[in-house]
């Protein structure tokens, strides 16, 4: 983002500064601030992390340490729709791998990647706690259960 002018950068950082201003300057608010900032930007760009470090009076390395520790935080742009494929025990024994393969084929990306048009990000998660319906995926906040590879195209089409 080196090409941004100063004015543009200030505009870009306005939402994060707004978020920071609602919290006390304490370490304990780092995770909620990061969560809100990611909600706003969709991911956590470096400039935003720098702003948060300054805003909460923490070192950038400390902020970076937390961001990289938790799987919820992302430093790359993400798709409009987030697909989480459950790889939990129940899903594993009921064919979760085949569901993952079907989604990868359909979207042409691997787990952890985002489609070029930024429509979908595909992730695997350890368990989404809907084991009774295994195998399960979550698209954004919707849970889809009892899946077979054949059902995948229909589900993805709903989000396009």
């Amino acid at each position: 983002m080196a090409e941004m002018t100063k004015a543009k950068m200030a505009e870009f950082l306005e939402p994060v500064n707004d978020i920071i201003s609602r919290y006390e300057k304490k370490e304990r608010y780092l995770i909620p601030v990061l969560q809100e900032a990611q909600g706003e930007y969709g991911y956590l760009p470096e400039e935003v992390l720098k702003e948060i470090a300054v805003g909460l009076n923490l070192s950038l390395s400390q902020v970076y340490g937390v961001v990289t520790f938790y799987s919820q935080f992302h430093q790359q742009p993400r798709g409009n729709n987030i697909i989480r494929v459950c790889m939990g025990t129940a899903c594993h024994v009921r064919g979760g791998d085949a569901v993952m393969d079907a989604i990868q084929d359909e979207l042409g990306i691997d787990a952890g990647e985002t489609t070029d048009d930024l429509e979908f990000t595909l992730e695997s998660v350890a368990c989404i706690g809907a084991c009774g319906l295994a195998p399960v995926i979550m698209v954004n906040d919707d849970t889809h259960g009892r899946l077979t590879p054949e059902k995948i195209p229909g589900i993805l089409a709903k989000y396009q």
């Binding site: 969560q35 129940a90 024994v93």
Partner: protein
């Protein structure tokens, strides 16, 4: 509060399971249909939490009759309204059928899945509207907190919990009363209580269902714990992956504050308690209590050595008591019914009930709550309805990534904390995954180790490096490159990791491997010495499928499902599978109407 009297209540489950099966649309259609038939003032729709029977969702129960309908779709609504709600006739085709006997069961309480259960923690789940505090209060909610705050000293409360024999339901099984006593004994101007709802075990979802179905019970449990140890502030640390649980908990906290059940001077007792929700950020290790506290403090969620225990030096350096969701959900019952009543349930050293998330290759998946001491067989066959047709039981995995797999000879084992430990597994948070002959035990061990390895926080070398080395060996074995001595090496590494890791994650990570070696060593040996995966799961070791030419009727169904186009042939003449292309996925086998396909 709504004072109208309705002649019927229709309970629609809106737990995560049923919602993903279409419960929201079902409810909307039902509302429209009732409005259409002018019944909205006579019949009330109640959105409830999870009934535990997620397999059969969406679930709908009609009271006062208590008729249990399952797998109800929008298209069924008109018939239910017309037949049941107007004409009083049960819609038989929507009733539950017992998988073993095919018998239709109209009433909720007569279904085997529920009949054998004893529900304390889950008592209200599926019965009340979790977003309506009045419904919780109507069923005796906050009575225990009232009793505690107005009539009991903090020591009396702790004695009562100690006497109940309640042990931590999050997995460790530490006596809850003793934990509270330690926190009470610590002198400090400030103390905290934390509810650990960072349910990260793959295969467990009871904490989620309790928070979604009965959030007030957890709040009440926390309020009592806070009073007992002298804390005025608390946190519920809940996974961000549980959006519905968070929403319902937020609403519940807001309502409790409005009713004066949280905040200052609760029940005019002079006792204050403030409760916050803290959303996790996706790290399994944060289920470990010291890591969880680090996370609330805004740090990387890495465990720290104990002592000092949280009861002495916990959150922000202050004495802290941490209990799991299910543990807290047992507290109100112990207070209102008495600790003797509670300790009568279960076994001598493990009193009360335990909720299990019953999943895997079983007919009735879902959440079940049974007295401690119930045997695995009762849970799997009587409540769970047994395995799918023609499938043979191979193992049951308990305790998630910290636990192990038990073979058939343990089916009569009464389940409690100690019996499971003796058998080489553990209670853990209560996941129970049933596996049949199609599950490969080496693959299952690899699956869990892959999970713990990627979730290891990296602080201790044995856990960080050791799990990686074990995983490499398992990957090698499952891909056909196993060597002599691999099994012994896995055992040696496993024992070292267990004895030298700092926290529960590392101390239990090797369990799935060690227990499968203990009970299914022959499967490991078959992989290593015979290049054979007996269950046919490990692709590199599996031989191609073949079609019996004599039996094949040439329908071509198998060719349609083959993901790699290995099957060819003309309709009405025998099809063939190209063994070089076949990846032995097994997709074709169930498609064949005449069972002509088998693994070569």
């Amino acid at each position: 509060m709504n004072d109208s009297i309705y002649r019927s209540h229709v309970l629609v489950c809106t737990g995560t399971g049923c919602v993903s099966s279409g419960a929201k649309n079902l409810k909307t259609t039902l509302e429209e249909e009732l409005a259409d038939k002018d019944l909205s003032s006579e019949i009330k729709i109640v959105e409830t939490g999870c009934h535990g029977f997620c397999e059969k969702g969406p679930i709908m129960i009609v009271y006062p009759e208590g008729v249990f309908y399952c797998e109800v779709s929008e298209d069924d609504v008109a018939e239910v309204v017309e037949e049941h709600l107007l004409k009083g006739r049960t819609v038989e085709r929507l009733l539950f059928r017992e998988p073993m006997t095919e018998e239709q069961i109209p009433s909720y309480k007569d279904i085997d899945f529920y009949k054998k259960q004893q529900r304390i923690a889950l008592a209200n789940c599926g019965k009340i509207d979790p977003e309506d505090i009045d419904e919780y209060i109507a069923l005796g909610g906050y009575e225990a907190a009232g009793e505690v705050l107005t009539n009991m000293s903090s020591q009396e409360v702790i004695d009562e919990i100690k006497n109940s024999g309640l042990r931590g339901r999050g997995g460790g099984g530490f006596p809850t009363g003793l934990k509270w006593q330690f926190a009470k004994n610590s002198d400090s101007d400030k103390k905290y209580v934390i509810c650990n709802a960072d349910e990260g075990d793959p295969g467990a979802f009871m904490d989620r269902s309790i928070l979604e179905g009965d959030p007030h019970k957890v709040i009440e449990g926390m309020l009592i714990a806070a009073y007992a140890i002298g804390a005025d502030e608390g946190y519920v640390y809940v996974r961000a992956e549980y959006p519905l649980a968070i929403t319902r908990l937020e609403k519940a906290i807001e309502d409790s504050e409005k009713y004066g059940l949280l905040g200052d001077n609760i029940f005019s007792s002079g006792f204050n308690f403030k409760l916050h929700i803290k959303k996790g950020a996706g790290a399994f290790v944060c289920g470990e209590e010291t890591a969880l506290m680090a996370s609330i403090e805004g740090k990387r969620g890495m465990p720290t050595p104990r002592p000092p225990y949280p009861a002495v030096r916990g959150l922000f350096g202050k004495p802290t008591n941490i209990n799991n969701v299910e543990t807290l959900a047992n507290i109100p019952f112990i207070i209102t019914e008495g600790s003797d009543e509670f300790s009568k349930i279960g076994t001598e050293n493990s009193s009360g009930t335990k909720v299990f998330a019953l999943t895997g290759k079983i007919n009735n998946t879902g959440l079940v709550e049974v007295p401690m001491g119930t045997t695995l067989k009762e849970v799997i066959y009587e409540i769970g309805g047994g395995l799918g047709a023609g499938k043979k039981f191979k193992a049951v995995q308990t305790g998630g990534p910290s636990g192990g797999c038990l073979p058939e000879k343990y089916l009569d084992l009464p389940i409690d904390y100690d019996s499971l430990l003796d058998a080489g597994t553990m209670m853990g948070s209560g996941g129970m995954v049933v596996m049949d002959e199609d599950s490969c035990m080496v693959d299952v061990a690899r699956f869990f180790l892959n999970f713990t390895q990627s979730e290891s926080c990296g602080k201790c070398t044995p856990c960080r490096e050791g799990t990686k080395r074990m995983l490499e060996i398992l990957n090698r074995i499952t891909s056909g490159d196993g060597k002599d001595g691999d099994i012994e090496l896995l055992e040696e590494l496993g024992h070292h990791i267990k004895s030298t890791s700092l926290c529960g994650l590392g101390q239990s990570a090797p369990n799935p491997v060690l227990s499968t070696i203990r009970y299914f060593r022959d499967e490991y040996e078959a992989h290593i010495h015979d290049d054979n995966c007996p269950a046919g799961v490990c692709k590199e070791l599996s031989s191609a499928y073949v079609i019996d030419e004599e039996a094949c009727i040439g329908c071509g169904k198998c060719a349609k499902v083959c993901p790699v186009d290995a099957i060819s042939g003309e309709i009405k003449s025998a099809f063939v599978i190209d063994a070089d292309i076949c990846i032995a996925c097994g997709a074709c086998e169930p498609e064949c109407p005449v069972d002509a396909i088998s693994q070569g």
